[in-house]
Symmetry: C2
Subunit: 197 residues, 2 copies
């Protein structure tokens, strides 16, 4: 079966758009998705940015909010900017990475994005993540301890380094098995088509 | 008839993609296009950039070239990056603005973009533009003199100021008669649909 890597960051608005539709689109295309949570912060820092481009470039930031509002409305998807943006997605990313091998990464990821961009919750807060884990039937204490283990912390750092080495500069990004990089929710269809070639 | 403003910059690769298809798409949608050449340079400067984001952010720049190559190939459109990028589009923009009232702006614009992104010509050079004008049956000496008149120079400065005031931060951009801004060749279909509502 064709596969497609899906690289996303929890503070990324456009990643929200993709998270909520990628499984359905991939299933229709006959492509298997490999979920790759990573951190954009270190990549932005390497190009001299200390926050999201939404904040660095106000006109572009305002536009992107409106762009996402229009796209979400057309898809019947709720969307609101959270009170704090960008939020620190470190805890969520560590848990999501742990969930990849455990099998609950996709459901966890969707719940975290819904909490942030539908209900305006602060997903940097451990109690928000604990609630989501519990709802998914994952032992929160055990998962949180494993997420904060040195091995898992190191795995997330490595994941982010791999992202940078492979030319990723934003999220969501998609990489096909032959190395083609696609960036943005609006390139999902192209990426899936390429993956199937 | 519904109208849509089309804001573009001659050094913009993604504007090339739009220039070569907007008339056909607009005709199919029953929307009239208002051609609005402007300069991105002053807008980039206002956010602290002294060149194209292609150059400022190398990973993103490499990606965007590949992205355009893929899209152009899918459309059967030739594309190559010119030897100098970004080129200074001032002379071309002044002429294009002049051509709006004279009626030859769309044809002139397509020829200039083809020269730059299909044949790798340096469109900052007056002789390249003179050749294009002559091919279109426009008197090059007369047009060049009118393009460099104080009135036309001032009109282009005003055009660029209007772009900034209306929240434009990149090209191509589209603005509907009710003020909705869309950015990017990949938003052309959305912009046309909005214009028709």
């Amino acid at each position: 079966m064709a596969t497609l890597e899906f690289w996303y960051e929890f503070a990324s608005t456009y990643s929200y758009l993709t998270v909520m539709r990628i499984e359905e689109q991939a299933q229709a295309a006959g492509v298997e998705i490999e979920w790759r949570p990573f951190l954009l912060g270190p990549i932005f820092k390497s190009q001299g940015w200390d926050t999201s481009p939404f904040n660095l470039f106000p006109a572009k930031g305002r536009y992107m909010v409106r762009d996402i509002e229009r796209i979400a409305a057309a898809r019947g998807l709720p969307f609101r900017m959270p009170p704090t943006f960008p939020v620190n997605g470190l805890n969520a990313a560590r848990l999501a990475l742990l969930g990849v091998s455990a099998g609950w990464c996709p459901a966890f990821t969707r719940s975290v994005f819904a909490a942030q961009f539908q209900r305006g919750e602060d997903i940097s807060q451990p109690e928000v993540l604990v609630g989501i884990l519990a709802e998914l039937g994952v032992d929160p204490a055990q998962a949180t301890a494993a997420a904060c283990s040195n091995a898992n912390k190191q795995a997330l750092r490595l994941q982010t380094e791999i992202a940078m080495q492979r030319g990723i500069f934003g999220a969501p990004s998609f990489i096909t098995s032959d190395g083609e990089l696609f960036w943005g929710d609006d390139r999902l269809e192209q990426a899936l088509a390429w993956a199937r070639r």
